[in-house]
Subunit: 209 residues, 2 copies
Amino acid sequence: MEETIQVAIVEDDREIRQTLALIIDGTPGYQCEHTFLDAESAIDALPSLAVDVVLMDIELPRMNGIEAIKKIKPQLPDTDFIMLTVKEDDASVFDSLCAGASGYLMKYTPPSKLLQSIDEVHKGGAPMSTNIARKVIHSFRQPILASPLSPRETEILQLLCDGLNYRSIAEKIFLSSHTIRTHIKNIYKKLHVNSRAAAVKKAIEDKLL
Amino acid sequence: MEETIQVAIVEDDREIRQTLALIIDGTPGYQCEHTFLDAESAIDALPSLAVDVVLMDIELPRMNGIEAIKKIKPQLPDTDFIMLTVKEDDASVFDSLCAGASGYLMKYTPPSKLLQSIDEVHKGGAPMSTNIARKVIHSFRQPILASPLSPRETEILQLLCDGLNYRSIAEKIFLSSHTIRTHIKNIYKKLHVNSRAAAVKKAIEDKLL
DNA sequence: TTCACAATCCCCCAAATGAGGTATGGCAAG
DNA sequence: CTTGCCATACCTCATTTGGGGGATTGTGAA
């Protein structure tokens, strides 16, 4: 498939927008016929255009680029979005990916790398700046924060999270329900909570399961 | 920093191991002085070696490469691990990343790309095959599964998850606690649960918050 | 050898919870 | 215009839960 990749740009800075468009449109195999200077116009126009790849800025006048993707992506599941931005804080990166972006590049990405990334995303890849990739990978790491709970308590918390009551837990691990109560009281103390709901939430958040 | 990158290989296939070692050790800027044919010997030896990057196979005789990383990585936070494997199922990929791998490459990766990836990971990047990168990125996508809950119910579920009781919720959103009870009963019905704990768990799992 | 803590068991009691109802008004789809 | 859903509010009752104790055994660290 040696077709031309149709690229659109959403970017409010006139200079950057035009420069990008020129680079892309001027390269064989790439075409950039549509540029937008805000999220709203992109949301209106994109669904009726056959665009393969969209370069999206995050900082846009009214609605930001992440919100824009949230709106557009569901209607265009086959269009790939690459964030092209100066923001590299965790929130921007992860929110973008959650919204449906398939790539995340810095604005200072050199043209050759940019074109290569457009190609890559169109082939099913996920181009990212190196430090962004590391951020993403790191996000999978389990903190392994020392659990304050004893093995027994952890086991009981596990069952607690499954919605079992004292008696069911007691029957499951062959203990008196009195013992279960005591354990759970201790769990609450250690987790600084005072209800099952809060304990379950904390357990899942802190991944002590 | 033009230092030589110290690379170690953990790979049970003799042919592959030696070929990789030759390629790496034969390239200026890279050195491969240590190779291991199973997880156990790598776990024993690596902590006392000053290795920058470890190429790790997943399929190893007794203990697999993922378990190996889980054991070693905590002791060597500054050593980067790249999975080099034929397995590209989701579980292998995500378990590897959770265990602490910083890169994930296919075994058929060409030598030039492999060397480049070693360099990249050592510089703080996260080299991945394109389809692996896409898998990782996709994992962030929110399924946006249609919640069976009404807006009001969602709101109350939210507060439920914070560990509030009927009365507190009622006070917070200016409703009768009777109404809260009714809403929660309906939430339970819709989520097919019958306790706060189970509701909280389901809410978080299904991301309806 | 204390001392702390995990793990087990027990008691009481007030409050919260879950399950079963009933009822109203509004609003949207059919 | 009826049917269903949402949001609201109330009642009763049996059960569960959380908070407050107290107690024993064993283990391991100080």
